[in-house]
Symmetry: C2
Subunit: 277 residues, 2 copies
Amino acid sequence: MVSAGAPLGVFDSGLGGLTVVRALRRSLPGEHIVYLGDTARVPYGTRSAETILRYARSCAAELTQRGVKALVIACNTVSAVAVERLRAELDLPVMGVIVPGATAVVRVAEQHGAQRVGVLGTLGTIASNAYPRAVAQLSTRIEVIGQAAPLLVPLVEEGWLEGDVPRLAVRRYLEPLVAAGVGALVLGCTHYPLLHGLIAEVATELRGAPLPVVDSAEATVTLVEAWMREGIIGQRAGGALGRLELLVTDRPTSFAEQAGRFLTEPLPEVELIELRP
Amino acid sequence: MVSAGAPLGVFDSGLGGLTVVRALRRSLPGEHIVYLGDTARVPYGTRSAETILRYARSCAAELTQRGVKALVIACNTVSAVAVERLRAELDLPVMGVIVPGATAVVRVAEQHGAQRVGVLGTLGTIASNAYPRAVAQLSTRIEVIGQAAPLLVPLVEEGWLEGDVPRLAVRRYLEPLVAAGVGALVLGCTHYPLLHGLIAEVATELRGAPLPVVDSAEATVTLVEAWMREGIIGQRAGGALGRLELLVTDRPTSFAEQAGRFLTEPLPEVELIELRP
């Protein structure tokens, strides 16, 4: 096992995974984190499974070479196609966001007696059927209704988090889910937590009652904490705030500007790196 | 010069350049066309200039190897950073979409006595200042106001071409241009012609009078015809409809589904190819 003082490695195709970093900073502020956003190849959500796996391997190789103690794939699209392969290929704990999100939504559905849950995600995540598969391993009674929502990532990246355009787009994506009678919803893309409030509000309007909304970024951090308690990932000793490193493969300045929307702490300098293909 | 019977090579980061193909088919139906959509690396609009140039070189190499007689860069982002470099490096006529679009909008502005013109484009195209530079070479009196409109490409790719969401998004992007008093508008992205009607309609509402809207895909084909008349590009003899080949670097099935929105003719099979990096 890599030393407990080593950083957690977190990667995503771009910015979205910073919602996982934000949740990690809140719950585990003592951990060092190296975040890699593969901005030269963003978005992954529209790529084929073979292409996504190839990209994921190069991100994972970069982070393992930097000595991380565990790998958090902070991207639903990559988690959907690559988490088991990377786990088999790498000699360290590897976690995706889908199993944690599915686990959390099943728990919430059971608490509320819901038989159907909805998942919002990119085209790639929905087409992969990863959430229905993950939920099926946890419960045989709960049905998953998927809804691809390709406009939500561009809306978040444009910073249109409030107002008519995001509200109407969210409404259009939620209508079929509410019509199908889902009793809980999981945000199956790490960009979506920035629209959490709006999504919950529109869902309540459409449904006439609050709809529990699960954030897979938060759910993932809950699982990181559990793996630390179980000794699968070491926990860094000492109370000081951990170091945060931000690496990208293209346009560090633009990344730094947008990252402020995701993180509340003062940002470190964003480093431009090149990945082996 | 390559034989007049050889195909025209057209490339874009993805689907958008098919609006140029559509305009070519209308005006020059006898020409063979090889279209390359670099769907594995789409979108280029958010990449750095160095990255875009590297990608453009690999697309151009693929098409020249296939024996095209001229290269049409059917992408504003690539045209903004790579057209002059590719022209210097390659031994065949190379055309972008920006000079034709700028030429057309200047002509329209002069006809209407407008002193300011607007350009809608991706973040990359607007940041490059390519339209202001191109217009400055044609007229010293006309000022260009740029407006990045990052949501319009995802809207077109989602197929949301009508209704409240595209209307409100278009309105939000046009408001500053109309407020600045532009007297003509150029669509500085090859996706936008699919929103041409909506953009013209919203602009008219905001302005209280029609706003001339120039489509750079149409303007580019006008220049291809001019280069043929001038003998810079050979024109294929015979009246039969030319062959259309569609090549992509990822997800051919998804490309084929979406391409129907851009082209009206029955589509050929979409071929998946790999580019040298």
